[in-house]
Symmetry: C2
DNA sequence: CGGGCTCTTGATACGCCTCAATGCCCGTGG
DNA sequence: CCACGGGCATTGAGGCGTATCAAGAGCCCG
């Protein structure tokens, strides 16, 4: 509904031969299915690249010839309707594997929302890698299952939650995910714009903004800067996210 | 939002030793990854059952100890909020594999919406089967990917489509899926109630009903009976589903 | 110290939900 | 065979939450 998608081009290309060894994302990603002594094999087919904000590297409807592993930064995945309405189906960060498609074409578009680094794998090369390392295929199945679970949760959000609950869910999820890779503070970062949050939650920019402002005036969050939120009452947020808002219905 | 979920119990248990050979769903399901001569192995761990409408066989939050393959009939998969709001994340028919979970617990509830037949697999037995037949694991990954694509499409529907577009999408999808397993007529069956359609599309019963009535009065569909729809203009429906409704905006 | 963003805030409109009544279908029993 | 009852579906009237439209405020960067 917001933003019109930009030009699809790939740039840069740094890194050396066996870059996989020193890859930050390795332990988080499916690549950890491959032992340290086989990393050369992996590095041989992994093609590292660097992209800037706004660059599209997977485009809905285009032939699915490559697969990607995000090694740094965040991307958004989205689908669009012909009139420009847009639904972001997820944000993918470091360690995320993208482009798994049975079909001949991609089902969504992927675009960097900040400077990112990623590894590209061509379809046939990934295929041989999968054949040689069955553990990798198992890991892929695992991550696919986890994504399915997340997708179902998001359907519940989009189909049945109020704006208030959606925003609370979004903050709560960001909170719990950020806490898995760093010290647990109430502070979370939002690398995406309000428009992107809105397109992710099935709302408008204005509603997202109003809801955040309301949380702030209720003393539940603080907004120190444009892209940071401080959760002053995480437990309360979780309740709202789950539909347990005390200020909602519940006529007891 | 509608309906309160019923009691969880499993009943019946027909069929003989090597039932897999004569299973209607075999060719459609992941079981087709196993050759005919190994079907005995499969049959040994597949536990067939019969369930009636309303019976729950997977319950959100419960330990994920079994996996299921639907061999006949239709089930609904849903998630619920504590106050009863419900989102159906999908309908699964013959050949559909269910319960794939990495987590210790199920992420959704599965309930028969008509009399069904299914096969149950215990987790450890499925595990050994997967180890012995890598092709089965590949098939599972394939189906998981397909479900992810469907889930993303549904997120677009729930987040950005109007009621009109949602109902049109629903009919169009049912149409194209039914045509893959039978003669291509404009007639589709709806084994689910209006309430279930509503919970699938993120709408209310009334809105679903009104929208169908409106399509009918516009001459685009016919409603010969409660659970049947005749598509009189499939192409038009597809356009509406894709957000190309001529009667909507588009101020040209 | 403007220019162009994104974000916030306000006023109003509208689509869908809610509540309520009626209609239809079908199984049950007289 | 028909009256009755209970589900489910349809239809109507009105309200609410979020979208839409429109300024204005804050921020970054040259």
């Amino acid at each position: 509904m917001n933003t019109l998608s930009p030009r699809p081009v790939i740039v840069a290309k740094p890194s050396s031969a066996s870059h996989c060894i020193e890859c930050d994302a390795r332990h988080r990603s499916v690549c950890n299915a491959i032992g340290e002594r086989d990393l050369e094999r992996l590095a041989a087919v992994a093609n590292p690249r660097r992209l800037e904000r706004g660059q599209v590297f997977i485009e809905e409807g285009r032939p699915a010839i490559d697969f990607f592993n995000i090694t740094s930064g965040t991307v958004k995945l989205y689908k669009m309707l012909p009139d420009g309405r847009q639904q972001i189906t997820g944000f993918a960060g470091s360690g995320h594997f993208l482009g798994l498609a049975v079909s001949e074409t991609y089902a969504f578009t992927a675009e960097a929302i900040e400077p990112i680094e990623l590894c590209r794998f061509s379809r046939p090369k990934l295929r041989t890698l999968l054949d040689d390392f069955p553990a990798l295929e198992k890991r892929l199945l695992e991550t696919a299952c986890n994504e399915l679970v997340a997708a179902q949760e998001q359907m519940l959000l989009l189909g049945r939650k109020t704006a208030r609950e959606r925003v609370a869910s979004f903050l709560a999820t960001r909170y719990s995910e950020s806490s898995t890779c760093g010290p647990l503070s109430g502070r979370i970062s939002l690398p995406m714009t309000r428009a992107e949050i809105a397109d992710y939650l099935g709302l408008t920019i204005e509603t997202v903004s109003r809801t955040l402002t309301r949380f702030k005036s209720e003393g539940k969050i603080a907004l120190p800067s444009r892209d940071e939120v401080e959760l002053l009452d995480p437990h309360w947020l979780l309740d709202v996210a789950a539909g347990q808002d005390s200020r909602a219905a519940s006529f007891v």
